[in-house]
């Protein structure tokens, strides 16, 4: 039940942001709000199993604090990744050395692993290809620095693992 209510509130907030049911004059657009309540209820009934949104975890302020600290770190890595791709693309010889390496993560929950895979994809030279159930990630690396699992894990995974463990795990 808590999960359903969490999904309902989250979908209603997204609806409000998209439909923006209040005008400059301060009036409410009741038509839009009623339709939004109906749509959010429908999503909560149908998709509450698909979206694992646990309110107790979601509302924990400590997690939000670490998420706010993690955001600039993530944006920094994202910009570095873009400059790296720019350098490779503009270099006349195209100095790439691609390969797929295997790395291990100690994150357990699905949400945390998804966030880790997405973070890896948006950071310099790496793209997650697959995640196995027992915690291994296959990562396509544009400029392979080491094919060994331990060294690759240190270079690719460990800069995010600590953060994501505090935020989502």
């Amino acid at each position: 039940m808590g999960r359903r209510i969490g999904t309902f509130v989250a979908s209603f907030i997204v609806w409000c942001l998209l439909a923006y049911p209040w005008s400059e004059a301060g009036g409410w657009d009741w038509q839009s709000i009623i339709v939004g309540l109906g749509a959010a209820a429908l999503v909560a009934v149908i998709l509450s199993d698909a979206l694992a949104l646990r309110p107790a975890k979601f509302l924990n302020p400590v997690r939000w604090f670490w998420a706010a600290v993690y955001l600039p770190v993530f944006i920094y890595y994202c910009i570095v990744a873009n400059l790296h791709v720019m350098y490779l693309v503009l270099h006349p010889d195209l100095p790439i050395k691609p390969g797929v390496v295997k790395v291990k993560t100690r994150l357990v929950s699905n949400a945390a692993r998804t966030a880790l895979a997405n973070s890896i994809t948006l950071t310099p030279g790496t793209l997650t290809v697959d995640v196995t159930d027992d915690g291994y990630l296959y990562v396509h690396w544009l400029v392979v620095e080491s094919a060994e699992m331990k060294a690759a894990t240190e270079k690719i995974v460990e800069r995010f693992e600590g953060w994501l463990e505090r935020i989502i795990e």
């Binding site: 791709v85 691609p98 390969g99 895979a117 994809t121 948006l122 290809v129 697959d130 396509h140």
Partner: protein
């Protein structure tokens, strides 16, 4: 003032998008192209949307841009991941002088790996 900052951010985003497109043309195969496309186009598009937010402020348009920014940032790497996994399952090889391919060694059917040396041309045309 906000408008000037917003237009600068939009211009930076367009430059990132441009380099993503150049990467899409210059890179040799599907995985390296995905790398260029995902990284540059995600940050480029997010910058454009953030620039829109700076210009319009937290009004109806700006909030929509913010929501779109979050969704693009979440879905774009997920889609790239799905395409990469699909191409690997389809049998496209990483590169003709790839350093290592642990995925092919451990997950794929061994016969696909051994017969794959001439598949590289196919991978390049995709």
């Amino acid at each position: 003032m906000n408008e000037v900052i917003g237009f600068i951010i939009i211009a930076v985003g367009l430059v990132f998008d441009l380099f993503g497109c150049i990467g899409l043309v210059r890179m040799p195969n599907v995985y390296t192209r995905l790398q260029a496309a995902t990284k540059c186009v995600t940050l480029g598009t997010c910058s454009i949307l953030f620039g829109v937010l700076c210009i319009t402020g937290f009004g109806p348009t700006g909030v929509k841009a913010l929501v779109c920014l979050v969704f693009v940032a979440i879905t774009s790497p997920t889609a790239a991941h799905a395409i990469a996994r699909g191409s690997h399952k389809f049998g496209i090889h990483v590169h003709k002088d790839a350093v290592t391919d642990k995925y092919a060694e451990e997950i794929d059917d061994p016969s696909v790996v051994s017969s794959g040396s001439n598949d590289q041309e196919e991978g390049e045309t995709l």
